[in-house]
């Protein structure tokens, strides 16, 4: 620090005077005490200083009481600030070019919006009345990017600049997805982490890592409590939505405890597990209320209000007499214990509505509906791209989300809702970017519907994925190049050629079933019955943007695989500020818990 010292002299003045002769000089008086030096200290101030936001100089002054020629803190008698002037306008050629540039002004505006959001956000614990968790199964970062571009191009834009609904959320971060025992995870372990705050093993549902997969006896003592269960305990309404089977790993992790994700109905379980008292996942869904009450003495809950998804097979007996009008198999049900769980559910909840098709869904009046159970397909619901092919019709994810919120918000205590787009994962497994991306776009629409149907002051919305896939966006395509197209580089109109002299697509897979050219086919699963192809193809005359095109894959596998890198997490509403940085996946639960104060309120309710 530079210090400028100014020393002032202290002057002693002796007064004398007489009219006669001067007498002899008297004796010298005693020397007076030395005066004090006056010191001034100047300190430069950086931009952002509280007293000088644009920087400047701080001037401290005072007497050097201790004579050390330094203006110590206790010696400062006065402080003044000389601040630099505020720059209110950019000026000059280069500055003008920068400040009027669209990228510059858009980004500047985003900062202002973010600042406003940050100031407006509720950060205190328990501010969220409602919590909605959106999970895109297999929705890795590259899938989000490609879907964003595809959605933008469908809207007539170049695409890259487009924003999916959750791209606009004010807070985002990264999530490490690995399971306790697996570097590349599956949906069961990852969703358990999100719902309970505890990371666990691959393939298990709602239980901690002390479990041995498929070992019924190891479940006892490992059961975790989920956010949905706590929401029930505190009196909120609850809902679960999935385009996969409602008993599939992701939705199951909200309500079930199972040593194996595949125990979706009793016929999927080993006999000894059934004999030992382990309950299949479908049965746990229907018995959710009584099972939860049994775990906590004196607890009285009212059960899950909204359940939408596929998977009728796990709720019906293996008997053609129980087939619905929407059945596609000769015997729709799989259950070998003779139980009709849809009937059991209806018996428990006489005011509830059980629906299996679009007409039944449309007939639901959310204002008067207490609870609803929708099973729209025998197995997984269809991809969004071929949804219209279902014989009796299936609602879209957006429709299910909007209607669920309309039912759930009838409760003044608020609600918890989990929404899974389950077939993004299946599109990728089949090697179809088209199906994965069209389902992702529908997922983003569902998020948008939730944003519009709720109040950001009392509703936390989190959007994330359980894991990613080996899906890549590669090469150097020019701006606006069709995301499913062949790579056409900047300044060119013809596709770039690889070292083998053949064109190549922007998106592709590291492994999987590889190339298929199925024209206008919209069901990715068609490719499963076809040959795995891993050698390079001449795509010159192939329409790679068609719904039936499956991208090339390097490693030949019968099913494309999950990937192990981080996924994104996006949030808005109370508590959203906690979604930042790189975190373990279990953080998701704790953010929801902070926002809604689940644990404390549940403890209070159980006292």
């Amino acid at each position: 620090m530079k210090t400028l010292k100014i020393l002032s002299l202290s002057i002693l003045v002796a007064l004398t005077g007489c009219d006669g002769d001067d007498g002899s000089d008297g004796t010298n008086g005693t020397n007076g005490t030395n005066g004090l030096n006056s010191l001034v200290l100047q300190t430069p101030l950086a931009v952002g200083n509280a007293n000088c936001l644009n920087g400047g100089v701080q001037i401290d002054s005072g007497l050097d009481d201790n004579g050390n020629n330094t203006l110590d803190a206790g010696e400062i008698d006065a402080t003044e600030f000389v601040c630099a002037p505020t720059i209110t306008n950019a000026s000059g050629g280069a500055a003008d070019v920068t400040s009027t540039n669209t990228w510059f002004t858009q980004a500047k505006r985003r900062v202002e919006i973010a600042q406003n959001r940050a100031e407006a956000i509720e950060i205190a614990k328990g501010q969220a009345k409602n919590v909605i968790l959106f999970v895109g199964d297999g929705l890795g970062i590259s899938t989000i990017t490609a879907a964003r571009i595809m959605a933008g191009q469908q809207a007539g834009l170049a695409g890259e600049e487009y924003e999916l609904s959750f791209d606009k959320f004010p807070y985002s971060g990264f999530v490490k997805t690995y399971n306790v025992d697996a570097q590349t995870p599956d949906s069961a372990g990852t969703m358990t982490a999100m719902m309970s705050g505890v990371k666990t093993d691959v393939g298990v549902i709602g239980v901690a890592e002390g479990i041995s997969r498929s070992d019924c006896a190891s479940v006892a003592g490992q059961e975790l409590v989920t956010a949905l269960e706590m929401a029930e305990i505190v009196g909120k309404s609850t809902g679960v939505i999935s385009t996969a089977r409602i008993t599939h790993a992701t939705p199951a992790a909200t309500y079930a405890k199972s040593a194996d994700r595949n125990w979706e109905d009793v016929s999927d379980m080993p006999a000894d597990a059934v004999a030992a008292g382990c309950e299949d996942i479908a049965s746990q869904l229907v018995n959710f209320e009584s099972n939860l009450e049994a775990r906590f003495a004196g607890l009285d809950v009212d059960g899950i209000e909204v359940m939408f998804g596929g998977g009728r097979r796990h709720f019906l007996p293996k008997d053609a007499a129980f087939n619905t009008g929407d059945a596609v198999s000769s015997v729709e049900g799989d259950r070998t214990d003779g139980r009709d769980l849809t009937a059991e559910w209806q018996a428990k909840y006489s005011a509830g509505q059980y629906v299996i098709d679009q007409a039944g869904f449309d007939a639901i009046n959310p204002a008067t509906t207490e609870r609803v159970f929708g099973l729209f397909n025998e197995s997984h619901m269809l991809y969004e791209a071929n949804r219209s092919e279902d014989a009796l019709g299936e609602p879209s994810l957006t429709e299910m989300t909007a209607k669920a919120i309309d039912v759930l918000d009838n409760n003044d205590e608020g609600f918890f809702l989990m929404v899974e787009s389950g077939r993004i994962d299946h599109g990728h497994h089949a090697g179809s970017a088209y199906n994965a991306l069209t389902d992702t776009i529908e997922f983003a629409k569902a998020v948008d519907a939730a944003v519009k149907a709720t109040n950001p002051e009392d509703t936390l919305i989190i959007v994330t994925a359980d894991h990613s896939h080996v899906f890549t966006i590669a090469g150097y395509p020019k701006r606006g190049n069709p995301i499913l197209g062949k790579v056409v580089s900047v300044g060119n109109e013809e596709p770039s050629l690889a070292a083998d002299g053949l064109p190549y697509t922007t998106v592709g897979y590291t492994n999987g079933r590889g190339f298929k050219d199925l024209g206008n086919e919209t069901d990715a699963d068609v490719a499963y019955s076809m040959e795995v192809v891993n050698d390079r193809q001449d795509l010159t005359t192939v329409n790679t943007e068609s719904s039936g095109f499956h991208q090339e894959a390097l490693i030949p596998l019968s099913s494309e695989t999950h990937a192990g890198e981080d996924v994104g997490v996006y949030a808005m509403g109370p508590g959203a500020h906690l979604v930042t940085g790189t975190n373990e996946q279990s953080l998701i639960f704790h953010v929801m818990n902070h926002a809604a104060d689940f644990v404390a309120q549940a403890d209070e309710a159980l006292e």
Binding site: V328, S329, H380, D425, H429, D517, D523, E531, P556, H562
Partner: protein
Amino acid sequence: MRPLSSIMKMTKSVSFILLLTSLPALVLAGENDKADSESQSCNAEYLVAHFEQSFGDSNTYAKHYAKEHVFHGEAHSNRNAHESAQENVQELVLVRKGQRVAHYNPKHQIANIWYLSKQNQQQLTRVFEQYQQGIEYQSGELKAPSQWHYVRSLVKQDLLTRMSLEQTSEQGCQQVKHYALETATHQYQLKWLPAVELPRELVVTNKHNGQTNRLQLTKLENDKVAAKQVAHQQFAKWDALPTTDYADVGDNENNPFLAKMINQGFSGISTSHHHSH
């Protein structure tokens, strides 16, 4: 028929396509039904039909055939490219029970089982007896309307439509209609059993390379009572096996059978058969 030693090799395949039932030339487009209304009194709903199918040995032809089937959605078949390289005679058992039809390969113990729903959707389950496991495919997989005729009768409707009736022999449930067709590339000879809607024999000859493929009915069980019972028992045995949606295979790497599918492009055919040539 050429000797086994002349069978071509196709080494690149890591196919999950199984066992093409019919001859390649059967795969054509079109509609029209030539089922004989007089035959309705003869039992065609419950039956067990045994076929022997033999394949020629043209390398070029087989490769073309495999590619055509792979890329045009005709893979719901009982023969794959691997096998066309290794075996030129196969046994096929067709089991019919109402709206359910199975194509069973006894050697590999694999059955493709189709069901036509009331909504006219066709659903396929592939059963691997050796592994006591089945794989289910979504119904949207089989879209071509004529596909069901092929599944049920091993001959597509449009082939019947295009062929010329040359003569009719025998009567009633035993009636045989002799059809023929010659195109720029192939000659077709079909002996058709309208009562049961099955071929007694279909011979397809490639005019360019002389390769002849043949589908021959060797035994037919269609006694109303006995065949119904046999078909019922057979389907019940297959139905008892656990199944997995193929869409779920990718999430089941812990299952040894499914892990093979994921990691090795496993076709379900045992190794000893797989590399027998």
